[in-house]
Every structure is written in structure tokens, then in C-alpha cells.
Subunit: 201 residues, 2 copies
């Protein structure tokens, strides 16, 4: 599993073999079950996760049972309940493994150690932050300037894998619309394109 992590980072920053060993040594591995919670709302997030296989989601849960997905973390990506992790505060969001997944994770303390002792790690983190920040800006733009149909069509165009792979319920949570509205958008605009049924695979 650690090789996957190294391979995905090796282009971002230049580290010696000793530094790579030091870095990788601070990541623990974990296998999760489908729907397993990695962080409960209200707890302070202690880890950054790197998804080797599978998919996590960070989501908000309202009192009424309604959920809103803040972000997905697919294979080859880092993620955490970011505000909680950085500010060391109880998290408004929970982290859930949507699929049975293999993840690596590093604690806040160890992450700080890497930032302080490996100069290239600061750069790598910065580049990952830039990428995440850009994604979030594009998402804000779609939310403030488009209606549900436009947002869905853009997602379909830019990230069709996401729609195929996840349940419509969760896609709706992510788009900020109800599952019924999403269902109607699908039948209205593109009847043939939707989640690939497992029975068709």
C-alpha cells in the first residue's frame, strides 16, 4: 500500500530514499468495511487519509436525517475533515467509507513532524492544498451560479465516473438537491446515462 502513496507523490517533490522511508513510516494502513465510519461528527479529526482503494466521503448530517456530502475522496487522493483537522476543533462533518476500502493515514502530530523535518513535505502539502482549494472554488461557482440541472450536467460531463459509481442518493446530497429532483433530471435530460447497474457489469 505504501508504494501506491509514494508513486502518487513522487512527481510533486524531491525526497531522498531516507526521507521517503521516514515519510512512509509515519503512515499506518487500515482496511475498512462498506459504510464504516472513520470519524463521527463532534469528534476532532486526528488523521489525514490517503485512499489506496475504494472511496470515502465527508458529509454533514442534519437532525432530520438529511445528509449533505462535502467531498468525496477516491483512489490516489488525500482527504480529511479539513476544518476540524487543521483547527483542532470538533468536526461538523463525519467521514465514512462508502465502499470497502484500503486507506493509509497519518496523525496530526506526525503530520506536523513531517512538515517540520522534511522541507519537501511542506511543498507537497502545499500543492495538494492548492488542488483541493481550486476544486472547492469551482464547486462554489457551480453552486452560486447554476441551477440543479446545470450542475448535474456539468458533473456528468466532468466527472461521469462519480455518477456511475455512487448511488443517486449520495450524488444528490453532493449536488445539494433532493433525490427526487435528481431522479427527474436524469429521466428528463439523459435517460440512458446513469449509474451502471451491478447486474449489467
Amino acid at each position: 500500500m505504501h508504494d501506491v502513496l509514494k508513486n502518487s507523490l513522487v512527481g510533486l517533490t524531491a525526497l531522498s530514499d531516507e526521507q521517503w522511508a521516514f515519510v512512509l513510516n509515519h503512515f499506518k494502513s487500515k482496511t475498512t468495511k462498506r459504510n464504516e465510519l472513520l470519524l463521527e461528527k463532534g469528534n476532532t479529526c486526528q488523521n489525514i487519509y490517503f485512499v489506496v482503494k475504494g472511496c470515502l466521503r465527508i458529509f454533514l448530517a442534519g437532525d432530520d436525517g438529511q445528509e449533505s456530502t462535502r467531498i468525496f475522496i477516491f483512489e490516489g487522493n488525500f482527504g480529511t475533515a479539513f476544518p476540524s483537522f487543521v483547527l483542532r476543533q470538533p468536526s461538523a462533518a463525519a467521514i465514512q467509507s462508502i465502499e470497502a476500502s484500503d486507506v493509509l493515514y497519518i496523525s496530526y502530530q506526525h503530520f506536523q513532524t513531517l512538515l517540520e523535518t522534511i522541507p519537501g513535505w511542506e511543498k507537497m502539502y502545499r500543492i495538494i492544498l492548492e488542488k483541493g482549494y481550486i476544486e472547492s472554488i469551482l464547486r462554489i461557482e457551480s453552486l452560486i451560479s447554476m441551477d440543479a440541472a446545470e450542475r448535474y450536467n456539468i458533473l456528468l460531463e466532468k466527472n461521469p465516473k462519480l455518477i456511475q459509481r455512487l448511488s443517486a442518493k449520495i450524488v444528490a446530497d453532493y449536488l445539494g438537491i433532493s433525490q427526487e429532483t435528481l431522479s427527474r433530471l436524469k429521466s428528463r435530460k439523459s435517460p440512458k446515462v446513469g449509474k451502471v447497474r451491478k447486474s449489467e457489469k
Copy 2:
């Protein structure tokens, strides 16, 4: 002007006097008029701006004349058309000086120079990125999980100065709602709280 910049950064990172001089030397200053455009949509953003006095906004403009404000940059903060600046691509958004403002700015090339030559600068940038990313995550959450009235009330609670200082039109653009809806929210929920008229100051 450069003192304001140094004072706002000095707590984030440890630099020698020589390093501070080197850093500040790479920032140019500029005075802007009200409503002046610092970047037009379609151009690649060349600078990061630091607002000493006044306020900038980064906004999208639709074909129909409708505008959506991505973010505001008030005194003591950095900002840019971030995706364009980082990815070196034409910007979807424009940058406008809402008020007559004093700004400092640094070019992409000079910014890279600072990242490469001043280790503490990488850390400073990372901390600013973390802050911006957290803000954007909270904004996404409000957009996907709250209706217009809730978003407005939260903004009123967390950032009343923003509502007082800016026109309702621009606040509506920022909230992702129409000006009419915002006007109705104001009269419905909190008749006495609104923008402070200049005539009342």
C-alpha cells in the same frame, strides 16, 4: 503600505530582516478607483493581491449580465483569481476593486522566486491556503445544506460587517440568490439590521 503587509504576516513565519526586505521588495503597490477592474475575465491572472485598504471582489459574469461573487478580499488579506493564477489559465472570473483601495501585489514569477528562495515563505503561503480552503469548505456546506434564509442569517451572524459594508446587490450575488429575494429576507427576518446608510454614519 509594506509595513501593513509585514505586520499581518510576522506572526505566521520567522524571517530575518534581510529576508523580510527581500520579500517586501517583490511587492509593488497600487491605488485603485472604485469599480476599477484589476483582471478581466479571459485573461490569465498574473498577480496575488494584498489589500491594505478597501475591498476587492472576485466574480463571475454571465452573458445575461448576471454576476456571482466568488469571494471578497478585505483589508489585511490576500486574494487572487486562484484557479487562473495557479494553473496559468485564462480566468473565468474577473477581479474588481469595489471601493477605492490601496493594494500590494506580487507577480506569479516573483511569487515562485519567494517560494524557492525563502523556506519560511512556503510555510506562510501554506497557512494562508489552509485558511482560504477552510473558508471555502464552510461556504460549500452552507450552499448545499441551507436555504437562502439560513445562509443569510448565518452571514448576518458571522460576518455582519460584510452586509453593512457592501451593497445588497453584491451580497445577493455572494449568497447565490436574487436581489429581490435578499430584500424580502431582510424585511421578513430582521427589519432593523441592514446596510448602514452612508447618511447615518
